[in-house]
Amino acid sequence: MRTENKIKVILFFLLCSCNLVASTQNKKDSVTDITPSITLSYLSSNDTIILTANIFDRKEQGTFAIKNAVIDFSASGDKETKFLGQAIADDEGNAILKVGSANGLPKDKDGKTTYSAKFAGKGKFMPAAESFSAKAGRIIVNFSKQDSLSFIIVTATQIDSKGTIIPIQKQKAIVYVPRLFNLLKIGETELDETGTGKVEYPGKLVGDSLGNITVIARIEENDLFGNLQGRSSISWGIPKQYYLAEKPTRELWTPIAPIWMIITLVIMLTGVWAHYIYAVVQLVKIKQLSKKNQNNQL
């Protein structure tokens, strides 16, 4: 290696170490270890379980999401623990994992499964974990018409320790329709002994362009079931009207001008410029006349 190159290499390392020192000095955070917190939310929807872990660091200045943190999800019962999968936290610290079905997951003696989200820790970020226990359940949404009234029928069931399907009783179920940003609540009902509740369909709800509307029934924040939901669609919605026709209109504010405006402009411009041309033609004629005169004189 030539001396020149050696110097370059040395310089490079010097610069790198300087940068490192500078960056550690700049970042106060890196001086102390960070102990993140995790919140875990659980949603069981039509036999699919969605686990969302949010990882963040709470400081005096506010909370900071921890981006790109790798979260391990697992499910455990009395005896065994099953690894479910891994997800990476996004910009807002959310790591989302979808689990196919609760069937086959380990359970405890009450039939509950404990889901946990673990962050193994990395560098200055300390490990963190959070868990949540829920029992598998199911909500079915049906529709019925009685006389002139329309009803949404919510039926919730669970599987007992013997493996038979039994109703979820005496729970509050909330009925929603999904909207652009959030769910719009349209009613709630108390489930009876048969696990069934009834909500009157409020009407005047906008569905998709064909009038199909999706209805979601949920048992929320439940100690036993977590968030349990079922969904179903029906053609009771008002077909969605699109605001603007696809074909372009001629308004003052649209890209193309109203016809009367174009006509007025064309008439005025033609009128004026025709006269200009007439005047210029006269000048050309004057010039031609002078040539003629010169020729005559010659």
């Binding site: 969302t52 610290g93 959310n94 940003f181 719009l184 890209p255």
Partner: protein, 321 residues
């Protein structure tokens, strides 16, 4: 791994969100149709797929590169989000001039302090009537005079009702600023250093990075809407003053509360500001009845320069601000 600063209030409202049993806020995308429209075809696919959750509890897979840059190209920004018509409802009864809407908007759009897309006024309709705080975004009028008067088509109205500005087209004649009767538009009088903070490519949907000598204004944050998030102001209002949604879907939400637009307007006597001008705004106000805060609360924790704004108002004069 990196630490991302997120607003405290946002985090609080997110907590609220979880309590309500609705699934986590981030990456929540509404409906497949919206999702398809926000996937930017101009961004090359990275091949790496990420999962995105919809409000309906469905997971959809999208390309990571495409989700990271929800900014669409200038050409594409002329097309509205299909099948949508956006509306905002501002509940004057709940506003206490916390100015989180202004601050989060400025941060999100990389604006200097002197440019406010959202302004909070202290209005008093007449001498004996009560003063109230009045947050004012762009009204995204259905008969927008600013768009009519633009000589080069730099400002345009889309099928989803949003009025945007293309600052690559704008010549800076400021005619739209005089055309707007609501003093909504701002001008970049110089090259503000904040503009350079934004390293992403310019898109009219993001109104960022700004450009010297051009006009800018509130854009209803279609770049956020495309990924299922509320505009900065609605997301960050600690009082839930600002509701946003699709008027054709008859639903508005402030993040924690989702309501039927028609019922909200009916029950709370919603109105549009200066209806007499015939501009047909897309922003509705709920009158400041049964207020949650006295108007004085709005002067708490204000910066001196902001507080001084209200010195010359009738209220400021009588109360010796």
């Amino acid at each position: 791994m990196s630490v991302e600063d997120t607003n405290d209030n946002k985090k609080n409202s997110r907590r609220q969100f979880l309590k309500n049993g609705l699934i986590a806020g981030a990456g929540v995308v509404a409906g497949g149709s919206l999702l398809a429209s926000y996937v930017d075809k101009s961004v090359p696919a990275s091949g790496e797929k990420v999962k995105v959750l919809t409000t309906e509890g469905e997971l959809v897979e999208v390309d990571k590169a495409q989700i990271h840059s929800p900014r669409v190209s200038i050409k594409e920004s002329h097309n509205g989000i299909p099948g949508r018509k956006f509306v905002m409802v501002i509940d004057l009864a709940k506003c206490k001039n916390a100015r989180k809407c202004v601050e989060s908007c400025q941060k999100g759009h990389h604006l200097p302090k002197s440019q406010e897309f959202m302004k909070v006024y202290l209005l008093q309709d007449s001498e004996k009537s009560a003063p109230y705080w009045f947050p004012k975004p762009c009204f995204h009028c259905d008969n927008p005079l600013c768009v009519s008067v633009c000589p080069v088509g730099a400002t345009f109205k889309r099928s989803d009702g949003i009025v945007l500005i293309d600052n690559e087209r704008c010549i800076g004649c400021k005619f739209c600023m005089t055309g707007c009767p609501y003093s909504t538009r701002v001008f970049a009088w110089k090259d503000y250093p904040e503009f350079a903070e934004d390293k992403e490519p310019y898109s009219p949907e993001a109104s960022s990075p700004g450009k010297e000598g051009t006009v800018a204004k509130c854009d209803f944050c279609p770049d956020l809407v495309r990924i299922g998030k509320l505009p900065y102001c609605a997301q960050n209002c600690p009082m839930g003053v600002i509701y946003f949604g699709d008027i054709d879907e008859d639903t508005v939400t402030n993040g924690s509360e989702t309501l039927r637009f028609s019922e909200l307007i009916r029950d709370r006597s919603g109105y549009r500001y200066l209806e007499v001008l015939g501009t047909r705004p897309s922003v509705y106000y709920l009158p400041p009845v049964e207020r949650q805060f006295p108007v004085e609360r709005g002067f708490n924790d204000l910066e001196e320069s902001v507080k001084n704004r209200f010195k010359t108002t009738p209220y400021g004069k009588t109360h010796k601000l």
